[in-house]
């Protein structure tokens, strides 16, 4: 008999927080959601008509992926279909209403994030890089590989490497190749670029801390530098040493 009462009491005790939360939610209003959409900045850019279909992709991902755009006015534009054109170093946006491809203005964008269908997120941030022979630095979108006091970015530039005669034989097709340059960004905002993974080259970038870096790498048994994962490891080491 007691057990019979007990189960009802237990049921109601379990229900109590649910009732409480439900009760509160009835008075919650959607003001914040409306306000957020009202405050959201509009993306602006030129209508882009892609005519050039060469060999190799100009894009970081060929698929339109959902992402967020971080603007210089510190607002975030969310849930947009985006594609990063590595050849033009521009972010493309697919308008929802008429499916136009818009080449977004680079100036107001500080960075962006795109997520693929597997839930992987790729963060890009505008970083200043020094171009040979140019007195001024250039702002480019670098993929954030590691972020700390010393951050690691990959500038995945697509370059035109040649031409190929189309199968019809009536025109030439451009050949595009990805040429990645890696950048360390120091605390003061200065960037140091390098193309190769060689341990020697990287250590040379910080000559006064050479011994400490070598010792730390030895301690971690990090001998080889073959891929980006190794580069991230060395950036972690640099953050500890510097």
């Amino acid at each position: 008999m007691i057990m019979r009462y007990l189960k009802y009491v237990l049921f109601l005790i379990v229900c109590w927080p649910v009732v409480f939360i439900q009760g509160q939610s009835t008075i919650a209003c959607t003001c914040d959601t409306i306000l957020d959409s009202l405050m959201e900045s509009q993306l602006a850019g030129d209508l882009y008509l892609q005519l050039d279909r060469g060999v190799g992709s100009q894009y970081f991902t060929d698929e339109w992926l959902k992402g967020e755009v971080y603007l210089s006015n510190k607002t975030v534009v969310r849930n947009k279909y985006l594609k990063y054109n590595q050849y033009l170093d521009k972010l493309m946006w697919l308008t929802p209403a008429n499916h136009q491809q818009i080449m977004l203005d680079k100036e107001p964008i500080e960075g962006f994030c795109i997520s693929n269908n597997f839930g992987n997120k790729y963060y890009f941030q505008k970083i200043p890089i020094k171009v040979d022979m140019s007195p001024d630095s250039l702002l480019v979108f670098g993929e954030v590989l590691y972020q700390n006091k010393i951050s690691l970015y990959a500038y995945r530039k697509v370059i035109l490497t040649g031409y190929e005669v189309a199968s019809t034989g009536s025109y030439y097709k451009n050949i595009y190749t990805v040429n990645t340059i890696y950048f360390f960004m120091l605390e003061n905002g200065r960037t140091i670029g390098f193309k190769k993974y060689r341990k020697h080259n990287i250590i040379q970038l910080f000559p006064d801390k050479k011994d400490q870096i070598v010792a730390k790498l030895k301690e971690l048994k990090q001998r080889h530098f073959r891929n980006e994962a190794d580069l991230k490891n060395i950036t972690k080491v640099l953050n500890e040493v510097l």
Binding site: L12, V19, F20, T30, I34, A44, D105
Partner: protein, 574 residues
């Protein structure tokens, strides 16, 4: 069950018929339902506003110092508050927008010496509180006497007769028993230092209060500083909370005065560069724009797309009228008090001593221009070329992609899209503001125009397609002379009021021969008192004598209202 209706007999019979364990179950269900209703029915107070002034009685020509406190239980609801001051005839005499910083907004406004003697009402609220009606507005009544009002005696007599009415029974300020306020003495002489100690008990974490030390007036003006309970409102989002900026809200009706749904409304403001925001109207014709601090102090133009004559109505945020009544209770000789107060002000004015201090707060809010383009277009400066009479000639001679032709006593301007090789009508901006037609810029000659920027390709701003852009900057704000043919609404977005405070006079540094007849000795709009700590203020009595009072108003961290009044005397020097 046919013919079944619920009454108490049926319910009691139904319950009696149940076995014991089911009775218990029904009892629990009912009690939980009751608890549910209690929680659901009580609105969580999102924010409460309270208002305090330095005094209750003023003379026209004086400054009113006020503080508006927001209690939001840790939620950051609003960044801006509004203040209206109306006379007994429900006419606004002052309106102002205030920036809330750390749950407080304070400032001052001038009482014009043209104001007639009477009771005035200060009403304060936030945009979000407008959803709940005037019941949640903070209200404070003040009495203003005009020095030149011949009917001052009649007015005070009227007030005295009214105050005997039982309707105006007011309670004196209830002292908060927890708050400990101490003065170093009970009786002071003129120009003597006062040490004011305020201590909060340990049980309360902190309290935000305003402190006023002033001459006690023989009048008790009832006002509702705050309202604790929120009425149920199903439309809590009609007026949104204002964070980091203000909201401009309005309606579009068609020519038959029906709500115009899904119309595109544009907003741009006077600037050297083109800027634009756009929204679509809702079913009821309503539209809203978020105005970040960039718009403060600028002229804004709201217009519809194309040649639309539907009128645009911008909603005013300022409350018009009086909340409740204006009760007053006299407990002394009001006439002689007002006369003395007027004399004091006259003396102070003669010596031109200023005790008001204005300071600009560091603007931390994000401010940005909603630009239409951010890259450089093709720029032409007509001053670099031979003088041209009007814009038609300028377009013909200087603009490569934009042409104007005359058609049926009007003008048509078109731009060629260099990518799509098509002609289309561009968006024309003059001094940052979107125009309705090229005819509006035809009178502009080479001397008036500083620069013309052309973007000869299709651009998108959100989902808005701009087939091309012509951005004209003038030397002398020619936008103000432009004629509009279709519906347009223009308004100036006001700056939030500057912060100002009452500067406590340093009496020990003022020579004796300079009279200092100040009925207000101290005003602190926002004093944060921490638990168990004593806040001390050292102030001076002025040359005014009589009964003075220390008034403390505010909230404690646990949401309790704090109200405190302490009297002391100031006697003349022997």
């Amino acid at each position: 069950m046919k013919g079944f209706y619920l009454n108490k007999y049926l319910i009691s019979g139904f319950v009696k018929a149940l076995p014991m364990y089911k009775k218990l179950y029904v009892f629990c269900l009912i009690s939980f339902w009751g608890a549910f209703q209690l929680v659901a029915g009580t609105n969580t107070p999102v924010e409460q506003v309270s208002i305090a002034t330095d005094r209750d009685v003023y003379v026209a020509g004086d400054w009113v110092y006020f503080s508006i406190k927001i209690q939001d239980a840790g939620y950051h609801v609003s960044d801006f508050a509004y203040l209206t001051v109306s006379n007994s005839k429900q006419r606004q005499v002052f309106t102002g927008c205030l920036k809330i910083t750390n749950n407080i907004a304070s400032g001052s406004f001038y009482l014009a010496d043209t104001l007639t003697t009477g009771i005035y009402q200060l009403v304060s609220y936030t945009n979000h509180l407008r959803n709940y009606g005037t019941d949640v507005y903070a209200v404070k009544n003040i009495l203003v006497a005009n020095r030149f009002d011949a009917e001052l005696k009649k007015f005070s007599e009227e007030l005295v007769s009214k105050s005997t009415d039982t309707l105006f029974q007011t309670e004196p300020a209830k002292n908060n028993p927890d708050l400990c306020v101490q003065l170093n003495k009970e009786v002071f002489s003129q120009r003597e230092p006062i040490s004011l100690d305020i201590r909060l008990p340990d049980a309360i974490a902190n309290a935000l209060v305003s402190v006023s030390v002033r001459k006690a007036a023989p009048v008790n003006l009832q006002g509702r500083s705050t309202y604790r309970k929120y009425p149920n409102s199903e439309i809590c989002c009609k007026y949104l909370p204002e964070r980091s900026g203000v909201i401009l809200q309005g309606y579009v009706h068609d020519v038959n005065n029906n709500s115009a749904a899904n119309k595109t409304v544009f907003l741009s403001c006077e600037d050297s560069l083109a800027n634009l925001q756009f929204v679509h109207t809702k079913e009821n014709g309503e539209f809203r724009f978020f105005l970040n601090p960039y718009y403060f102090g600028k002229k804004v133009v709201v217009k519809l797309g194309g040649e639309d004559k539907s009128p645009i109505q911008i909603e005013s945020k300022y409350f018009e009228g009086i909340v409740g009544t204006l009760p007053v209770q006299i407990h002394g000789d009001l006439e002689s008090y007002l006369e003395t107060d007027q004399k004091y002000l006259g003396i102070q004015w003669s010596f031109n001593e200023k005790y008001r201090q204005e300071y600009l707060e560091k603007n931390t809010a994000k401010s940005w221009r909603p630009e239409v383009y951010s890259r450089e277009g093709i720029v032409v400066r007509p001053a670099d070329y031979v003088y041209l009479n009007d814009f038609k000639e300028i377009a013909h001679e200087l603009l490569m992609y934009y042409k104007i032709r005359e058609k049926k006593d009007d003008f048509v301007g078109s731009i060629i899209d260099i990518n799509q090789k098509e002609f289309s009508i561009p968006y024309i901006f003059l001094d940052g503001i979107l125009l309705e037609h090229v005819r509006q810029i035809i009178p502009l000659d080479s001397k008036k125009i500083r620069s013309i920027l052309t973007i000869p390709n299709a651009r998108f701003l959100g989902d808005l397609n701009l087939p091309g852009i012509l951005d004209i900057a003038t030397n002398n704000a020619e936008i103000e002379k432009v004629q509009w043919r279709y519906s347009v609404a223009m308004l100036d977005v006001e700056h939030p009021m500057p912060n100002s405070t009452y500067k406590v006079p340093e009496m020990d540094k003022i020579p004796r021969q300079i009279p200092v007849y100040l009925p207000l000795l101290y005003w602190n709009p926002a004093l944060l008192i921490n638990s168990g700590k004593t806040s001390t203020a050292t102030i001076f009595t002025s040359d005014c004598t009589g009964t003075f009072e220390v008034i403390i108003n505010g909230f404690s961290s646990d949401g309790k209202e704090i109200e405190f009044r302490k009297l002391f005397e100031v006697t003349s020097l022997k």
